[in-house]
């Protein structure tokens, strides 16, 4: 890692192609790593590429919450743990769960530090627009993560500015990140939700996902926390994203056996406990359609997802226009997956 600043783009290789009329119309470059019990099992691009995992690392950011005993002290359910790892779309389901959670802590919306944005859920979006209400911080796709942050902060008796880089919570998340990725962080930035996001390598992120996959549910505190969080995500797909979203749809298709998580700027990770394998990938241009296609291709490669499953169709294969005509295809680049 001699040049971390430039390395996200160095040695990236074609992962996903966009075809139309028999011509290559577009191409997405990236990096992907499959990490198994023995280390890297397959890699495309540069495993040492430095990336911001963005929301794909929410299960790492939730480790202090579970390991510290804060989650149990607050009586958090698996659905709430899934919500702590979520980029939800602000549907009624998510909004009411976070509202109740904050209330149970004796806290309220202004205690959040994530900022407000319109929800992606069409029904909640319509409700807000027709009522003239503004979205609040609970609608933020990261509000479950922030409710988890507040749960830890309250349990630890720490100050309210939990998104500051030197807050004890962020120090704990940084330490957990370095431990599970097996490397010092490569820098940090401010995420869309105002929390710090710690840069790591694609291989480090895949190693972390493999650690979640291999975690012993009856082992030490770290193992138990990892196993609980991965299981919570895999078995509560509706909490992790929402109807029509890739994380929810694909986890449902895999029947609770695999946890997957997207992150902004086209990061995607997967935790496969039955195989004790983890996946991490990054599309350099930030194109979500490509990170979704790439994770689908790798999950099919590993036998976790059936290529014929209807859940796969939107992400790989023929693309149709508004009149239903086939206009082209999204496919994997030669040599990938």
């Amino acid at each position: 890692m001699t040049d971390p600043v430039a390395s996200v783009a160095t040695s990236a290789r074609p992962l996903i192609e966009i075809w139309r009329g028999g011509l290559l119309e577009g191409q997405h470059l990236g990096h992907a790593v499959i990490w198994g019990p023995g280390g890297i099992e397959a890699a495309w691009g540069d495993p040492d590429a430095v990336i911001f995992p963005r929301s794909s690392c929410k299960m790492i950011q939730a480790l202090p919450l579970v390991e510290s005993g804060a989650a149990d002290a607050a009586g958090l359910t698996p659905a709430q743990l899934a919500l702590a790892c979520a980029s939800h779309q602000g549907a009624g389901l998510h909004v009411s769960a976070v509202s109740r959670w904050l209330g149970d802590l004796g806290l309220a919306e202004p205690d959040l530090r994530c900022g407000a944005h319109m929800p992606k859920d069409p029904a909640e979006d319509l409700r807000l627009r027709t009522s003239g209400d503004s979205p609040c911080q609970i609608h933020n796709n990261c509000s479950g993560k922030h409710a988890g942050f507040l749960t830890w902060t309250r349990h630890a008796g720490a100050g309210p500015d939990y998104t500051e880089i030197d807050h004890p919570l962020q120090r704990a998340i940084r330490a957990a990140t370095e431990e599970v990725t097996g490397a010092d962080i490569a820098g940090w930035g401010i995420d869309g939700c105002s929390a710090p996001n710690f840069a790591t390598t694609v291989a480090g992120l895949a190693r972390a996902m493999a650690a979640f996959a291999a975690a012993n549910p009856t082992g030490g505190a770290r193992d138990r926390a990892m196993a609980r969080l991965a299981r919570a995500m895999a078995t509560h797909p509706e909490m992790v994203a929402g109807e029509g979203r890739a994380c929810t749809t694909l986890m449902r298709a895999m029947g609770g056996r695999v946890a997957i998580k997207t992150g902004a700027e086209a990061v995607f990770v997967a935790i496969l406990p039955e195989q004790k394998r983890g996946i991490a990938l990054k599309i350099v241009d930030g194109g979500t359609r490509a990170s979704e296609a790439a994770i689908v291709a790798l999950l099919i490669r590993l036998g976790a997802l059936d290529a014929r499953d209807p859940a796969v169709a939107p992400y790989l294969g023929a693309q149709r226009n508004w009149r239903g005509l086939v206009t082209g295809e999204i496919r994997t680049a030669p040599g990938f997956a």
Copy 2:
């Protein structure tokens, strides 16, 4: 052009970078050409890269409409000519204009061949969703282009299936495309609106835009048609896209002196009559934020757009999150623009 199939991706170079926390988080590769009176004046990537211009070539697709006399026979206004070159967002303004246009032709919505999709205009979207109405083909962002197609078809007495590749209209568009780009088409595909889209090179598209820029308003039929269409677009920016969209906002900022047009999969073109220059660019990954940033950078380079204009800020420079914190920056890659 030894390998047209692969050439969109060959020799693409970094044009736009995404930064966060002092690290390069993302990168967009592409091709760009500035064509002036003497030919190529500047190029990045491969000028011979084969691309689908998609909606960026609507002014070329409108040439038969004007040259044939069909536009004048139907009494089309400059606003209607702008709409024929538009990817509009289905606001009331656009919907009512296309509806009236079809009515004036003695035609109606089912005569369109573009398919229906929800409009991007927030007010019209809300109106449809609260009334329970479905969007119709007039809401399609290409409905103005298709109204122009129908105007030509009616004038020529041609059959109703005007989106078929061997329809006289599409043959006329193909011939016009080859003439203004100076090259045989490199293939064709079906666009989102079901019309054929003819593949060409980035340099060919830039050459075509320079021809529009240099067109003599009192010259021959081709010149007059080009000058009318470019002027209609530049002076009716509200018709070409809509409120908040890059084409509309940036053309307004340039005060009617420049026509610009986006196309799906991150194509962008500009026609600069005062300089007799044309620009064409393509981002290989299809990322619109990058094609917008790149065209802004090139328009600033050519002095057509002021870097300090508030219209520039969303597309280049510091990026902020939901709480207003600066999280990073969109900037041009070293050596570009």
